[in-house]
Symmetry: C2
Subunit: 422 residues, 2 copies
Amino acid sequence: MALIVHKYGGTSMGSTERIRNVAKRVAKWARAGHQMVVVPSAMSGETNRLLGLAKELAPAKFTEAYGRELDALAATGEQASSALLAIALQAEGMQAVSYAGWQVTIKTNSAYTKARIESIDDERVRADLDAGKIVVVTGFQGMDEGGNVTTLGRGGSDTSAVAIAAALKAHECLIYTDVDGVYTTDPRVVPEARRLQTVSFEEMLEMASMGSKVLQIRSVEFAGKYKVPLRVLSSFTDWDMDIGVEAKSGTLISFEEDENMEQAIVSGIAFNRDEAKISVLGVPDTPGIAYQILGAVADANIEVDVIIQNISKDGKTDFSFTLHRNDYAKALDLLKAKVLPSLGAQEVIGDAKICKVSIVGIGMRSHVGIASKMFRVLSEEGINIQMISTSEIKTSVVIAEKYMELAVRSLHKAFDLDQPIA
Amino acid sequence: MALIVHKYGGTSMGSTERIRNVAKRVAKWARAGHQMVVVPSAMSGETNRLLGLAKELAPAKFTEAYGRELDALAATGEQASSALLAIALQAEGMQAVSYAGWQVTIKTNSAYTKARIESIDDERVRADLDAGKIVVVTGFQGMDEGGNVTTLGRGGSDTSAVAIAAALKAHECLIYTDVDGVYTTDPRVVPEARRLQTVSFEEMLEMASMGSKVLQIRSVEFAGKYKVPLRVLSSFTDWDMDIGVEAKSGTLISFEEDENMEQAIVSGIAFNRDEAKISVLGVPDTPGIAYQILGAVADANIEVDVIIQNISKDGKTDFSFTLHRNDYAKALDLLKAKVLPSLGAQEVIGDAKICKVSIVGIGMRSHVGIASKMFRVLSEEGINIQMISTSEIKTSVVIAEKYMELAVRSLHKAFDLDQPIA
């Protein structure tokens, strides 16, 4: 007897047969007495198909110039799958209604192709739930102040689901996907990777930002901010499995420090293959430099990941950051053309063939020597560390891309992540 | 230097290559100094693909129960093609913006899958035109008072285009399609069919309602009501043809009685293959009977075409009407279950294998004997006439479906429509 949000990924919505199974699963939950909100992604392949058409029409640098129209285009994929799911639910004998982002309304800013949710009006959805309907809310999209359709970026449906769960104060948000939970690392890289039964919100945040790819990072941020319990589980189990068993499967992302939480020092190894690094060399070490460099980058809507500035020598310092590989050329051009001349720096250099590997664990907070163990393992494999960045619960290194798999496997083994919890 | 509305059908939008040609054509018109509004259909096949998915999920009588969700689903096809066209226009160096029906706003009633436009707010579009932008307006759809997405039914993009042209008081509305104009009859049935350079609004209305399939009938009604000059022309001519030649090609549907209008007595032969007929026999001939029968049918959102009631005998009469074949079973059930008992009629019978063939012409107004010539031609071919209906400018007969081609060809020849105008 709770308000539950289900989110289904594109693979789970990939055919009418699968949509029907989603409908049966949601209907099972509704019949068990829960108020149900469902957020589906577009059918798998659909977003790529639509954006592929756009690319044929406007090949060069099209994402920047045509943002508004790209969003209007891409948003149709989720609208179609939402309507299809509502139809499938009605065919199951349930009352159901679907809403596009602008109908809810899900208000966002105007940063096309990577908009951020600003507010959600829950009135319409709540009225429908109270009237006994299942509400299907189109993920991935919203509407800006000017009434334009916006999208939240790849994986944005996760964020939609969590934001809706937060707005409705849902009991739990279940993210159904094509994996059965969060693993100690990507099983495609390390076959011995193990599923975690629970993971703390902070760990998940670090895992997601590091590219574990199970959840969009913003969805985890949202979940943490609004304390929405989040569960990642597989949509490929039988739809009619026992609801009590299903409700405890997958991995729970908990914002409470659970006594029973698995107390490994390192919970997982995260990595990100699509990174690039840029360094601005010989920067005068004066106040405002970081802002001068990163302000320009941020203004161009480029997200930056790791930022490192080392101590200065002779009044000069080197400033480095990593970013998504897709933004590499644009950021490099920008810095060379606009920032370098006004800054009096020596040079801007970069490397698009790097990756980032991180060890993540709440247990690291109270254990020393974890980072040094990581560096030792990498050195024993002959892997050169290019950059290091640490936080309370993670340590990240930037290394050449070609060493990624080797690094992940060695660290996974060294931290005993392939061993069952005692 | 005029405000022009272009409408492109699904075939004209059928690939990125074709969308690019549409963009080049529209850009040519804009560069010639015109303010341009473009209404594209969904890419050909897309609406069928989407509705096919819905049918897989809810096979039985799904159009009635799931109207709201079907509309939300089907509307995405036009939204995608509109965004793609805006992108293609931008790639041509033009400023362009696309709007979904709810963004314009195009307000409709709530009759899902066959909604009617109630009003169009032209403010947003006009502001964009004044700012030098080309405005792409999603056809086929609107929004009802409750903020739900509605669609206008098959061919509804024609109506959208004309309604927008009317709201903006456009100079002309050009309907680009896969035929190069309005013909004396369907060239697939009669190879000798001839293209008309102009056709009167009244004739076109009769032709469209008779199934000439060039334009949705409601678009012609709208054009007549708001006196929007309408031109049907081919989108498969070269996009860079001389704009003066292009502006005079195809067929102009004129609401002015033009001195130079071709003065054939019969302008064309229209026909409709997908008809069915229903007769209610032995109805007491008392006031209110027609309403009792057709009111029930109309309440079920079924459109009726020809209606015939003959003189009564012994206080009883027979009441017949034709309707679209898709609605046949539903209407028959309805009449048998609800109307027959309360009416005291003898019987309801029907036939789903009929067709309607009509001769249409403004010239018929002042010529006698045209109808009788039609009946003679059909009789000479041994074709039995089941129902007859006449208006000022057309005469229609209902005949067995199997005679359709024979009837159309014989009439086309008998009225000299295969001969060039002297």
